[in-house]
């Protein structure tokens, strides 16, 4: 690769540029669509002379996005928090104490990871109705925590096994610390890199979740961003500019976070995909 001549380099750079531009096309169309005024049916490839910024405020109001942002934020934050606390706690004995029981439990978590939880949609829905948790933040949080818990445990256990020296805990034990004390004061702080990855994975997936939310969060006051957007799309199929404006606002927070923390996002999401 060091011997690449100048001409070849220019051609390849142009190819990279073209790939980038092609992948931007749908986003360009999204933006021009969102900025077309009501009744403007001109080509979506042409940027409007007078961008209809007011589409954004109208979409925000009619799609009830402030409530949707609130719901999505609550669900994402609490799910991520529980995943990190209970996931790291669970991974610790599973990584460290190789008893028969622990080996079995670990295998159980790994096996569950392969099956998409929604294949059991019918009984899950019935369960949620039975325990009276329909249309609550809690059910969304529980479902997400259950869905991503095996992955969190898998990643934490792998990290503890490969990078945390056992001697550390033994030393703390000699100092007379309790197991939980050792875990949260000695081990947990050393798990920062994998905690960051799990945080990113769970935030991206849960923030973007539609499959769980559509079943369990149908009431107006608990709708998340994706559910609100899907409903909004259904009611405004002939006003694509409003739907596009809403879609831009719905994705913007994640896109900004991604552009700021790109390296962490890429690394975190890649580690999450290595579950095969």
């Amino acid at each position: 690769m060091n011997y690449m001549n100048k001409r070849k380099k220019i051609v390849l750079s142009a190819a990279a540029l073209i790939i980038g531009l092609i992948h931007m096309v749908p986003f360009y169309i999204l933006v021009t669509t969102a900025l077309k005024a009501k009744g403007d049916f001109s080509s979506k490839w042409v940027f409007p002379d007078k961008p209809a910024i007011e589409n954004f405020s109208e979409a925000w109001e009619t799609a009830n996005l402030s409530s949707a942002f609130y719901n999505t934020s609550i669900i994402t934050v609490f799910s991520a928090l529980l995943l990190i606390i209970f996931g790291s706690m669970a991974a610790y004995p599973l990584a460290r104490r190789q008893t028969k029981l622990n080996k079995f439990i670990f295998m159980l978590f790994v096996a569950i990871m392969v099956i998409p939880p929604l294949t059991a949609l019918v009984p899950l829905y019935q369960l949620v109705v039975d325990i009276g948790m329909m249309n609550t933040h809690e059910i969304a949080i529980f479902n997400n925590v259950a869905a991503y818990m095996p992955l969190a445990i898998f990643l934490y256990a792998g990290f503890i096994r490969s990078t945390i020296p056992k001697e550390l805990e033994e030393a703390a034990k000699i100092d007379g610390a309790s197991t939980l004390g050792i875990f949260f004061k000695v081990v947990f702080p050393l798990l920062k890199p994998v905690t960051a990855s799990i945080l990113i994975i769970s935030c991206v997936y849960i923030w973007n979740d539609y499959q769980f939310a559509i079943f369990f969060l149908q009431a107006e006051e608990v709708k998340t961003i994706t559910v609100a957007l899907a409903g909004f799309f259904g009611e405004n199929a002939n006003r694509m500019n409003l739907v596009a404006a809403a879609a831009i606002m719905a994705t913007l927070p994640m896109v900004i976070l991604f552009l700021l923390l790109q390296k962490h996002f890429v690394k975190g999401l890649a580690s999450g995909s290595v579950k095969g």
């Binding site: 690769m1 690449m4 380099k9 750079s13 990279a16 540029l17 790939i19 980038g20 992948h23 096309v25 749908p26 986003f27 169309i29 999204l30 669509t33 979506k44 490839w45 209970f86 996931g87 669970a90 599973l94 008893t99 439990i105 392969v114 099956i115 998409p116 939880p117 929604l118 294949t119 059991a120 949609l121 019918v122 009984p123 899950l124 369960l127 529980f142 925590v145 095996p150 001697e167 030393a171 100092d175 610390a177 197991t179 000695v186 923030w207 973007n208 539609y210 499959q211 994706t226 957007l229 899907a230 799309f233 694509m240 596009a244 896109v255 999401l269 890649a270 995909s273 290595v274 095969g276």
Partner: protein, 310 residues
């Protein structure tokens, strides 16, 4: 604070205490994974097991009573033409997206691994859709393909060609779903291949160069075999992701026209919520879990074996 102190201590002792101790009988510390196990058991394991029970009933999803009807739902499933249409679509979404994501992802990785301009720009843009909700990504492409006022038809009008209803045509729209899913997740394949490429030592290529191997020979004899672990990961995660596809279908076609573009996930949803056919929906769910399990395990074993050969 404790962390710092003990770490110092460890430095000293870790060298000396390596072999001496074999700890006494360990306790499982099971209470530490109890909360995680409880949540997973209650919201995944229990529903999964009771789903098997429901698949042997004619339950409609809301009434208090139902009958056990043995294997009737299973018989019905295997003789239902809709099942095979939906399984065929699901396989197309799973295997089709996997093929395209890997071929294109590998090509992008090979290009964007070179030290060229525009490299990080292209990587960022290709990766960006990964963090966007699949539902919203579906809508974004809907604006492109829509019959009324879609960007694609804007071009066709300009060229004087008849508008096409790409999303309403069952011979096209299943492929568009594959296309959108590929577009969204090709970035993950690219990143995994980039990491794989960067782990291959430059020495191999230098040696091959001296032996006069062509670029293609180098790719076939060095790059491809050493990339096998990345290929395995990509194959398995893309297959699982594609087989359970849901959001994109809802956004682009709603599964239509009719059942033409339904996947197993959307079919199950339709059976349960629109047709009040809970027993049958549960049976379809079991078939879906079974198909995903078999295909992803088969892919895992197949590519792992290739890794060993390579």
């Amino acid at each position: 604070m404790i962390g710092v102190e003990t770490r110092k201590e460890t430095m000293v002792r870790s060298s000396s205490s390596k072999k001496q101790k074999k700890p006494k009988k360990e306790s499982s510390l099971w209470w530490m994974y109890l909360p995680a196990l409880a949540v997973v058991s209650f919201f995944i394991l229990y529903p999964f097991i009771s789903g098997i029970k429901i698949s042997f009933t004619n339950w409609n999803g809301f009434s208090q009573t139902y009958d056990y009807i043995g294997f009737n739902q299973y018989k019905r499933m295997f003789s239902d033409p809709d099942t095979w249409l939906v399984v065929k679509n699901t396989l197309l979404y799973g295997l089709g997206s996997t093929l395209f994501q890997n071929v294109i992802g590998l090509m992008y990785a090979l290009l964007l691994n070179q030290s060229i301009r525009m490299r990080s720009f292209a990587r960022t843009i290709v990766y960006l859709p990964v963090i966007i909700s699949p539902l919203i990504m579906g809508y974004i492409w809907y604006f492109f393909f829509a019959f009324q006022g879609g960007a694609l038809n804007d071009i066709l009008i300009l060229l004087g060609i008849d508008k096409i209803n790409a999303l309403g045509d069952p011979s096209i729209n299943t492929w568009l779903i594959v296309f959108v899913n590929t577009f969204q997740f090709v970035g993950i394949a690219m990143i995994i291949y980039l990491a794989g490429l960067q782990s291959i030592s430059k020495d191999f290529y230098e040696a091959a160069e001296i032996d006069g191997a062509s670029a293609f020979q180098q790719f076939r004899t060095i790059t491809l075999p050493l990339l096998m672990p990345s290929i395995t990961i990509n194959m398995v995660i893309n297959i699982i992701g594609g087989l359970k596809l849901f959001d994109v279908i809802i956004a682009l076609t709603g599964g239509g026209p009719g059942y033409a573009s339904q996947s197993m996930s959307t079919f199950m949803y339709d059976l349960y919520f629109n047709r009040q056919d809970a027993g049958y929906a549960a049976t379809q769910g079991i078939l879906m879990a079974f198909i995903i399990l078999i295909i992803s395990l088969a892919a895992l074993v197949f590519f792992k074996r290739k890794e060993v050969e390579a």
